[in-house]
Amino acid sequence: MLTLKEVQSLLSGELLTPGINLEKECSKVFASDMMSDVLAFIDPESVLVTGLITSHVVRTACLADVSAIILVQGKRPEPMVVDEARVRNLPIISTACSMFEVCARISRSHPEAGR
C-alpha cells in the first residue's frame, strides 16, 4: 500500500495545499474528468485523478469522500479553488504527468489501486 506522500514523490508532484497531512493511505484511485461518473462510481477514500480545475472538482471530491485530488499535465487551479480545498482539508497535488502516466506509475507500485 502507498501513502499519499509516496504517491506525491512517485509523480514528482507539488502539494498545492501545504500543511495538509499526506500520511494517509492511498488505497484506491479513480481517474476521470466527468464529475457525474465520480459521484456514481467512486469508492470512499479514493484518490481522484483529473484534468479539471474548477471549484466543482473540489466540491465533488468533498461530497464523494475523496482523500486527495491529483491534477495532471501540470494544471493549477485559481487560488480561490485551492483555498476552498484547504478549508475543506482536501490535499491537491499537481503533477506534470499525463493522466495515463499517473495511473501507470501508481499501478506499477500498487496494482490493487484500480479495483
Binding site: D33, M34, M35, S36, D37, V38, L39, A40, P44, L52, T54, S55, H56, V57, R59, T60, C62, L63, A64, D65, R88
Partner: protein
C-alpha cells in the same frame, strides 16, 4: 403518529448559478456529520443532494431544497419551478442527458444523476409537470444508526 422532526433546514437554489453550485450540498454534508448521522448515510445523502442541486442549477430557473432529519431517516425534498420533464422514464434511464457542451466541460451531463439519486435513496419519488416544475423526494433510512 407524527414523526418528531429533530432537524430541518431550507436551502434556496438559483438556476444557472454554476459558481455556487454544490455549496448547499457541502453544507448539508457538514450539518449531517455534526448531527452524528452515520458516515454511509451522510455519504448517500450528500450524493443525492448534489445531483439534485446540480439538476436545478442546470435545467431549472430556481428551486428549493428541504432537508429534514429524524431519528430514523434523512429526507431531502427538492422542488423547482423549471420547465418540467416531458418523459420521466426516459430521463431516469442511464446515459440520457440534455446537458449543453458547456455543462459537459464542467464535468456534468453524463446522464447518471437521476439513476444515481434513485440508487442512493431507500425511497425515491419524482413528480414532474411540463411548464410547472419538478419535485424530487428522497428518503434515506438511518437503520437504527444513532443520531
Amino acid at each position: 403518529m407524527m414523526t418528531e422532526i429533530s432537524f430541518q433546514q431550507e436551502f434556496e437554489i438559483k438556476g444557472g448559478d454554476f459558481v455556487r453550485a454544490g455549496e448547499a450540498s457541502c453544507e448539508i454534508k457538514n450539518l449531517l456529520k455534526e448531527l452524528g448521522v452515520a458516515m454511509q448515510v451522510v455519504r448517500r445523502a450528500a450524493i443525492v443532494s448534489y445531483e439534485a442541486e446540480m439538476n436545478v442549477i442546470m435545467y431549472a430557473g430556481s428551486g428549493r431544497l428541504d432537508l429534514s432529519v429524524t431519528s430514523d431517516r434523512v429526507q431531502i425534498v427538492v422542488d423547482d419551478r423549471g420547465p418540467g420533464i416531458e418523459d420521466v422514464e426516459l430521463a431516469m434511464s442511464e446515459g440520457y442527458s440534455t446537458a449543453t457542451p458547456e455543462m459537459r466541460e464542467l464535468g456534468f451531463g453524463a446522464g447518471m444523476g437521476l439513476p444515481n439519486i434513485k440508487r442512493n435513496s431507500d425511497i425515491f419519488k419524482i413528480h414532474s409537470k411540463v411548464g410547472r416544475g419538478t419535485r424530487l423526494e428522497m428518503t434515506i433510512r438511518t437503520n437504527g444508526h444513532r443520531l
